[in-house]
């Protein structure tokens, strides 16, 4: 059992999909789509799996195969191999023409050999961009290379112009190329250029992916009506886009936080920190610039040996209206134990709500009133969380929300926390239910903590404990809410490093060990967890492509 678990777990999405039947794959994809727009990385995993359908294409998997190819080509219209597949699925549209154009302009195999992959360091990518620019110089109509340049520039949020001077786009490919450029500019925050592209595109040239990104450009321009219209057009093209539907609802009727709640509700704000004095000072500073009312603040110095004590003491003056308590432990007791220590404080039970903040975040001025307003909308909500992004410009999505991805006899796995390698351009700025939200800025109802008072110390020193606590809440019937209108800038990713040094192997072991612990802790709850999928959360926003009613009962497929 454990051996199976490790094999499946380590095989990643691709390996997991391989073991699943077509209906299971389609169900999992629909679950994903109920949370996120399809990014090219996740999309290609599903595409590869659906193309290898051993039992042939049934109606459902054929539908989703076409769907994924279409979405992929909207993002990457000049990908030769996907175009080939696209031609099979969509023989009547523009795909066959594009495929021919891409094939005609393609550079010979050997021209690609000096191009490093996109996954390396920024320096490697810069070498890649130069190599690609050189390749385009030799082969000015090589659209696949131009697309690669866009992707390499997107990773580093660059304007691709200087690498594309030699590019000659064939006239028939011009709309697709402009869409790609518009998407690129809209993603990396070059809004003026995105708008230029927008003007140059005909109305009939637009796909839903471009429309969504353009809509967010107009939101940033202050033109919400235009954004609403674009999202409406997008959903007319593909009504299966749950995030777009939620975003449209938000744009039509914006969520209105109630600032008075901050003064009316008793709130505790808890932080714990371990030897990050500098960034901790910035976190406290950020907290002090937010509207907290009379919230009681408690800071647990988790065996700090640096200046954290002085930082905490100095911060006291920044909170003149707040009770500010400093708790010190002689050693690092780990994140879950630190949380429990704070929760065990009698003040927790006197408050209406308790927030936890990581020690390395920059937070939004009105976060508390936003969270409180969400909380007060439904007494069944146990926890509310934020949209967590990286500190870069433009910020990357670090953590949105999760649902239960797999709960079978051999595996329990939570979903991805966000689409892979995407910027925060506003696509997820809405309030919605989830199964888990990020633990670096979240607010608990006191009753929820009463019923689930323990973060599990088996996940020490950190990782998974916050997810698992959310699952405890779900199992007790509490709702989990994501508040995408509250952005939390998280200065350090606690995820597993990608480098294969021995140091990160130890970290990887910690993460794998904790995932395994999570899986087996909840084996007894497998059936209940299987119902905590993504689809069941937003049923009213999900449309079944085959015209059948969608019901959570299908979750057990």
């Amino acid at each position: 059992m454990f051996e199976d678990y490790m094999r499946i777990f380590q095989s990643g999405l691709t390996g997991q999909l391989k073991r699943m039947t077509n209906p299971q794959v389609c169900y999992r994809l629909r679950n994903h789509l109920s949370s996120f727009h399809l990014d090219p990385i996740v999309g290609s995993c599903y595409l590869n799996r659906l193309l290898k359908s051993g039992d042939g294409f049934d109606q459902e998997s054929a539908f989703w195969g076409r769907y994924v190819v279409d979405k992929f080509l909207q993002r990457m219209p000049f990908e030769p191999r996907v175009l080939e597949v696209g031609e099979l699925f969509m023989p009547d549209g523009p795909v066959p023409g594009l495929r021919a154009l891409v094939a005609a302009g393609e550079a010979p195999q050997e021209a690609w050999q000096s191009v490093p992959g996109a996954e390396g360091t920024p320096e490697e990518r810069e070498r890649g961009r130069r190599a690609l620019a050189f390749l385009v110089k030799q082969h000015p109509s090589c659209l696949s290379a131009a697309q690669r340049i866009l992707e390499y520039c997107r990773r580093d949020a660059l304007d691709p112009g200087r690498y594309l001077t030699a590019l000659r786009v064939p006239a028939q490919a011009e709309p697709a190329w402009r869409r790609a450029l518009l998407q690129h500019y809209a993603q990396v925050g070059l809004d003026a250029k995105a708008l230029e592209m927008w003007e140059s595109l005909g109305r009939g040239d637009l796909d839903e992916t471009t429309l969504n990104l353009a809509a967010e450009v107009f939101v940033r321009q202050g033109d919400r009506d235009r954004a609403v219209a674009l999202y409406e057009r997008s959903l007319a093209l593909d009504k299966l886009q749950t995030p777009a539907r939620l975003r449209l609802a938000e744009l039509r009727a914006p969520f209105a936080p109630d600032p008075a709640l901050v003064g009316e509700r008793k709130v505790c704000v808890y932080l714990y920190t371990w030897n990050k004095a500098q960034v901790f000072a910035e976190t406290l500073d950020s907290l002090s610039r937010t509207r907290l009312g009379g919230a009681r603040i408690k800071v647990l110095l988790n065996g700090c040996t640096d200046d954290s004590r002085a930082v905490a003491e100095a911060a006291r003056a920044k909170f003149p209206d707040n009770d500010f308590e400093i708790i010190e432990t002689p050693v690092n007791i780990g994140a879950p134990a630190a949380r429990n220590w704070l929760i065990n404080h009698e003040d927790t039970w006197k408050a209406d709500y308790t927030a936890f903040l990581d020690d390395d975040v920059t937070i939004q001025e009105d976060w508390l009133e936003q969270f409180l307003t969400v909380m007060e909308s439904d007494q069944g909500i146990g926890v509310v969380g934020a949209k967590v992004v990286s500190p870069e410009t433009p910020p990357r999505l670090q953590y949105l929300y999760r649902f239960v991805d797999l709960a079978t006899d051999e595996m329990f796995k939570m979903s991805l926390e966000a689409p892979i390698s995407e910027y925060d351009v506003g696509l997820y700025d809405y309030v919605r239910p989830a199964r888990s939200v990020m633990g670096c800025q979240h607010l608990f109802r006191t009753e929820a903590l009463r019923q689930a008072p323990q973060f599990d110390i088996r996940f020490s020193p950190s990782q998974v404990d916050d997810i698992e606590h959310d699952l405890q809440l779900c199992l007790k019937g509490f709702k989990v809410m994501y508040t995408g209108l509250v952005t939390c800038i998280h200065h350090q990713s606690s995820g597993v490093g990608q480098q294969a040094s021995s140091m990160t192997l130890a970290k990887m072991g910690n993460a794998l060990g904790n995932d395994l612990k999570l899986c087996f802790k909840h084996v007894p709850n497998q059936r209940k967890l299987a119902r905590m999928d993504g689809l069941g959360l937003v049923a009213e926003h999900v449309f079944d492509p085959l015209g059948e009613p969608v019901s959570p009962a299908r979750a057990g497929d």
């Binding site: 065996g303 007791i333 780990g334 404080h345 088996r458 072991g509 904790n514």
Partner: protein
């Protein structure tokens, strides 16, 4: 499967793992039929079986009743020597510590013409357990040197001569008692903690202080903490603290190590809170062990269950498995006939529930790693770090600790807990997967093992 169960049979001391006179003995005999018992009264076989049965189930009153009846039977001579020497009875009497009765029953046979090495060894062991060491040595010297499975006896005899202080713990080597701080972390083990403290109170040593940390207990542990100064007597200084929440074993031990000033102590001992029995000379045995080989970082004992089945006796790691996790060989489940009662530095780590550290070791290799919270693998990780830092460790199996080991009880049937255990051994496997990790530890151990076997358990400077 739990942390101590082995996948392969690495045997550091080169002894036969089947050692022990009656190891092959089955437990196939059922208690006699009720009718027979009603007619003839309860015999020794029945009483021994029933006593052990109740002991395993923690039915204290029924256990004590069986014990009393057994003792009365033995005292009245109502059990024949033949009956007592039946394998099951003999083993049971040994488990129950009825050495006088065993001595009487075994003596004539073991010294007679029909004796074999197993009986001779066992008779010697019974004498040894009765404190009649010289007689035991005499009997043991008749065990033929080349008999299979008695390699350990050669080591024991040799070490008795070379290191009587560490083996017997009769008196401290050196003039002055070094200061020892005993650290006990406890959570929800009120009745067990009382037993542990009762044993600790009988420690034949005066210069020690006791620190007890209550790790968020919900039972009546606080009461025991209040009573601890009385339990330990007026000569022992006791420090206690109760935490509002359980911080886990590694953080709890780190708290014990850092929250108080231990700079006055030369040695720090860690004892578990569920030690059911240990002898008063445990600390002298441990302290004397440091004299056996200079530069030792830590010394650990042997742990057995109440049924004398070994939990940990000379512990070694196995090479990591395919999934990256790591496992161990600790002689778990063997019946303790004394075949592990020797000193050995072959061990890769020492068992964390009864051990003694040089204080400075924690400055050198650091504290316990909280990634192994709440428990499982904590002491193994720390032991491996001591090894990787070049320190030598010593197992002293002469110091036996009867350990409830509640953390492992029922583990194989409890998936959440089993997952925790496996998760920690995955963490451990990955943590030391590099060439300086397990590979180096195992390589170095093979060198120590060769030296140990060549010297028959005498520790020389050559290996340093």
């Amino acid at each position: 499967m739990n942390e101590h169960e082995a996948r392969t049979g690495a045997d550091p001391a080169g002894r036969d793992r089947k050692a022990g006179p009656s190891e092959q003995g089955g437990n196939g005999e059922r208690p006699q039929a009720a009718a027979r018992i009603a007619e003839e009264g309860r015999d020794a076989a029945y009483l021994v079986g029933a006593a052990l049965h109740h002991l395993r189930r923690g039915a204290r009153e029924r256990f004590e009743a069986c014990e009393a009846e057994l003792d009365a039977l033995l005292a009245s001579g109502g059990a024949s020597p033949e009956e007592l020497l039946r394998e099951r009875v003999l083993k049971g009497l040994y488990q129950l510590g009825r050495f006088e009765a065993l001595e009487k029953a075994l003596g004539p046979v073991a010294l007679g013409p029909a004796a074999n090495d197993e009986l001779r060894y066992l008779y010697g062991q019974v004498l040894y357990r009765l404190g009649r060491t010289d007689e035991a040595v005499d009997v043991w010297s008749a065990v033929s040197g080349d008999a299979d499975g008695f390699g350990f006896l050669r080591v024991r005899l040799r070490q008795l001569r070379e290191y009587p202080g560490a083996v017997l713990g009769g008196g401290l080597i050196g003039d002055e008692e070094p200061e020892v701080h005993v650290l006990i972390l406890t959570k929800d083990r009120e009745p067990y903690l009382r037993k542990t403290l009762a044993c600790l109170a009988r420690t034949a040593y005066s210069n020690y202080r006791v620190y007890i940390l209550d790790n968020g207990s919900a039972d009546r542990t606080a009461e025991v903490l209040r009573e601890a100064p009385d339990l330990l007597g007026p000569d022992v200084e006791v420090f206690t603290q109760s935490l509002p929440t359980n911080i886990g074993r590694p953080a709890g031990h780190n708290w014990l190590l850092t929250n108080w000033d231990h700079s006055g102590a030369r040695y720090l001992s860690i004892l578990d809170d569920d030690l059911l029995h240990f002898e008063p000379n445990w600390l002298v045995q441990f302290l004397n062990t440091f004299a056996v080989k200079p530069g030792l970082a830590a010394v650990g004992g042997k742990t057995v269950g109440a049924d004398l089945l070994v939990q940990d006796a000379t512990s070694v790691i196995n090479p990591p498995a395919e999934d990256g996790s790591v496992s161990f060989f600790t002689n778990r489940g063997a019946f303790d006939w004394g075949q592990f009662d020797y000193l050995s530095n072959v061990t890769d780590y020492i068992i964390g529930c009864a051990c003694l550290f040089r204080r400075e070791v924690f400055d050198e290799v650091g504290l316990f790693d909280i990634r192994f919270s709440p428990s499982q693998g904590v002491d193994i990780d720390h032991g491996l770090r001591m090894r990787m830092a070049g320190h030598d460790l010593m197992y002293n199996g002469n110091a036996t600790f009867v350990h409830a080991q509640l953390t492992s009880e029922g583990l194989d049937k409890d998936l959440p807990r089993l997952g925790n255990s496996r998760g920690n051994f995955l963490k451990l496997g990955y943590k030391y997967s590099g060439p300086d990790g397990f590979a180096a530890v195992i390589r170095d151990r093979l060198v120590r093992e060769r030296e140990f076997n060549e010297s028959q358990g005498v520790f020389t400077e050559a290996g340093d």
